[in-house]
Subunit: 265 residues, 2 copies
Amino acid sequence: MIAWPDIQAVLLDLDGTLFRGDVVLPGALALLEQLRQAQIPFLYWTNNSTRTPVQVVDHLRKLGFDAQVRDVYTSSLATADALADVLPGASTVFALGEEGLFDALRMRGFRVVTNADQEDEVAAVVVGLDRTVTYARFAQAMRYLLNPDTLFYATNLDRALPHGDHFMPGAGAVVSFLETCTGRKPVAVGKPQAAFVLAACDRLAVLPRNTLIIGDNAETDVAAAKRAGAVAVWVTTGVSHVRAEQGTMTISALTDLLPIPRSQK
Amino acid sequence: MIAWPDIQAVLLDLDGTLFRGDVVLPGALALLEQLRQAQIPFLYWTNNSTRTPVQVVDHLRKLGFDAQVRDVYTSSLATADALADVLPGASTVFALGEEGLFDALRMRGFRVVTNADQEDEVAAVVVGLDRTVTYARFAQAMRYLLNPDTLFYATNLDRALPHGDHFMPGAGAVVSFLETCTGRKPVAVGKPQAAFVLAACDRLAVLPRNTLIIGDNAETDVAAAKRAGAVAVWVTTGVSHVRAEQGTMTISALTDLLPIPRSQK
């Protein structure tokens, strides 16, 4: 059972938790509606680095969710936030990724280089899922990373992601390629890093111990909650084959969380 | 000192040992000439999986070596040999690699699939250095490898290779990408695997302990020799930053090996 009076915020995983592809999962719309009625702030909180907040909102609205851009926090946004803590805003970064990453970095004022033939010095190499990656761009990232002064950040280390009836390589595979040829390890930002929970909690001005994390992936969502000291609920609607460890609150559908008691505030 | 009377064959690394790019290294031509005069059989023995034996011979001849196709043994040839031991000759294999790998597999009778849109069942995924690799082809290899019956072979796990004044990602980086997204590890064939030494020795009908391995890379050439029980000479003309372990015979140029005493045969 969740001690709802202690919960001051909720972080919601997206794919596999609220929806699967274009299908809304049972209880998802009601959960969001009741969080609003109970005045419990929340974030759509995802490791997916490829979509911009606007694209995430578009998808959620298409599925019937009443989403706003300010409610979205992706691993790309968190990575740009983390870089902004250590680099001047006008720095040049080389990104292996997609629009969600480029957009997040640009929003933070960084100059984003993506092509192998741009020979500038860069302050950091940032890696997300990149479904158009080529050997030439890997080689360019390698050249930058062989300079030990160049920072190395990754939005997440997800090994694979579901795609219809099969799996596709995740950002972690892209990172592994670069780890092997450079001998370097990146600062990883997304789940299961506690930093991603802490940054989300910062946005909502709550403590992790008063934050409920709902997700379908034991290796990322639940692990992140444990590391950061947040409360975890594992919902088994996703495609993850790894079970959450014993003691984790496990539900078979979001409907099991309802109704959410009204806030006493 | 090398006990030349015990040496019945020599395995010669190429890039960094006999030449560097288009420059012949000191003593290389004389070494080959004296091996022939002493009637000591040898192989041009390389982890480079991208070139066919004909291409290797072309390059060697351009540099002044009197090379024959039968004198060349690449990691791609050894991989095709290893697969031929476990798969019927007409099997279909999916290859991430270049012409040297495709050619070696076809010479062994395999049907080679290289494009992501070829949806056939395959018996094996084989990985070498692939400087045109794309996410789509990685994803296709992943799909094949998620079938546990599909074999997984790699020509070598080299992390990087020299290219002019810098380094490029090696076959090992390509392999790491697939290891991460599939959770599988390949059978690696090239240096430093003892199997590559044993297969080369088989070709020359000699024992490893009577085989001299000359190379510039401590992590691959020297390590392979140690694992297989061959005699190693480390020549410091290459770009490798890893030193051979103490006790390895170390020379600063191939000229230090000359003259080779005439055979008593």
